[in-house]
């Protein structure tokens, strides 16, 4: 009896140790990633300052010139366009779904969002190439500029916007549904219209969570690779209008991994771009998750 119980307890303790090691290994994994990328980027960082790298415009790997400004600017602009488009779309969609929609609308829209969320990035790329790019080059751009290939900042922003929509809508819906119904009733009972109630009660109490959701969407948009790579045009220049080609960091990384080993410093430069992505996304994620956890803990 005692013997049997010992075995039970031993199994319990052994499993606890094994599992704890796995949990600790996951912390170590993040650290290893940071250290690994840093060490590989180190040769470049040893003779250029980070500021220099981020602000230089010239990208000529064969001549040892590594200016990341075009890529950094492209990343920022693409992300900004995607978010500018996605924010109102997802906000109004989420408000409609939580505050206004009838059941049949929900039954239509939620599955649609599910499909958007499950589609792989490369499929968005195919869609962008076949629909968005020709649409821009033939129908939109001619109104504004003389010529545009369609493989542009705008195309990348649009594709990314659709890709971050499901994430943002579901985060917003979750935040809005967490607002207790009594508050809505109290406001409606005082004669507020649904929109007034939404704006002054529902949205106001969800603002920290909404900021976190946007930050999360930004970090997702920044790291998105294949779909953007397929529609962005891949020209290392600083885009001057939305009809110019651009070249975000993930695309840089994906396009050049094959040849990077042959040119000195090239590998370091690419790993530096991976490091930038890693650090920015890590920070953004940390911040927004901590805010979201706080918001959840309050409920």
């Amino acid at each position: 009896m005692i013997h049997r119980n010992r075995r039970r307890v031993r199994r319990d303790k052994t499993s606890a140790i094994v599992m704890m090691v796995m949990v600790i290994a996951s912390f170590a994994f993040v650290a290893a990633m940071a250290v690994g990328l840093y060490l590989k980027a180190q040769p470049l960082l040893s003779d250029h300052s980070i500021w220099q790298l981020l602000t230089a415009r010239e990208w000529k790997p064969s001549q040892n010139e590594f200016g990341f400004l075009p890529f950094v600017m492209s990343t920022l602009l693409v992300t900004a366009i995607a978010l500018l488009l996605a924010l109102p779309l997802s906000f109004f969609t989420a408000v409609y779904l939580t505050e206004y929609a009838r059941t049949w609308v929900k039954k239509l829209v939620y599955p649609a969002l599910d499909i958007l969320a499950s589609l792989p990035s490369v499929i968005y790329g195919v869609w962008g190439t076949l629909l968005i790019v020709p649409l821009i080059s033939k129908h939109i751009a001619p109104h504004f500029v003389e010529f545009s290939s369609g493989y542009t900042l705008l195309a990348s922003g649009l594709v990314l916007c659709v890709m971050v929509l499901p994430l943002m809508v579901s985060l917003f819906v979750e935040l809005f549904s967490a607002v207790p119904n009594q508050l809505r009733e109290a406001s409606t009972a005082m004669g507020a219209t649904p929109w007034q109630t939404t704006r002054r009660v529902v949205v106001r109490s969800s603002i920290p969570g909404m900021i976190a959701a946007v930050v999360l969407a930004v970090s997702k948009a920044m790291g998105e690779t294949i779909a953007v790579l397929m529609v962005c045009g891949n020209m290392p220049q600083i885009p001057h209008s939305v009809f110019d080609a651009c070249y975000p960091l993930p695309a840089l990384l994906a396009n050049n991994y094959g040849e990077m080993l042959s040119v000195p410093r090239y590998e370091a430069a690419l790993m530096f771009s991976a490091l930038i992505l890693f650090v920015v996304v890590l920070l953004f994620n940390l911040i927004s998750r901590i805010i979201l956890n706080r918001v959840k803990a309050k409920d």
Partner: protein
Amino acid sequence: MKLKSKYVSEVLVRALMILSIVAVVAFVISILYIIFHKGIQSITWAMITQLPQGGFFISGEGGFLNAIVGSLYIVLAATVLGLLISVPIVVYLNIYLKKDSRLGYFCRLTFDVLYGIPSIVYGAFAFIIMIAVGMKPSLLAGIVVTTMLIIPIMVRSMDEVAREFPRRLLDVTYSMGATRWEAMRVVLRQIMPGLTTATLLSVGRAIGDTAAVMFTAGFSDFIPKTLGQQTATLPLSIFNLLTMPSAKVQEKAYAAALVLTIIVLIISLTGRYLSGRVSKNKI
């Protein structure tokens, strides 16, 4: 006057909302239309049953069976490995650790962050490791990087399921003198449907990922016979084929996109509707 503006803004806002909803639905329809329309026009039986013949990117002869099988190999192996690591972690977080444990909080945060890291960065990191240990692009390397990628997805979605298991049921089992290991078996049996859904969603996500395997799996016209051989994957093939100039080759890309879309939709929509957990799009 004030009263009137109140109703004007109400109408305006409603119009904006309906516009947004219409836009979202239109996006979905246009994506599906493009993929299915182009795909059905291009697809032939030979494409999904044959290996490429006479140069994958040039001739357009043969099919992309190599990529379908390569993707399945990678994802199946990564799913099994991923489950072996994720399930114990989720069990540890929810059963072995106390409620509101610090370690648990940091661990969850870590997986949130790992989940957010772009797959291209995973690819780059795996590439560094491959160089460090002298490994060449191969099926094995593809499996390893996909496993790294799938673990955070699995941990987060399974954790969400496990957290819904009522704590007081755990208390009851402990109060009878059960060990944590024994309590775990009660919990696992109960949340099995949720875990299945979580697994399916993760698989659906992993099978469509391109950026990570780009660095690691290489490419091959054949189905790999050993772990050391290079292998094609479906998403990467679509990407590569689409950038080829020949229209005949591009048709293969459309067909492959259709196949990938169908696989992914079946996997993830089954997953979502199995447990009625519709629209948890954070996963």
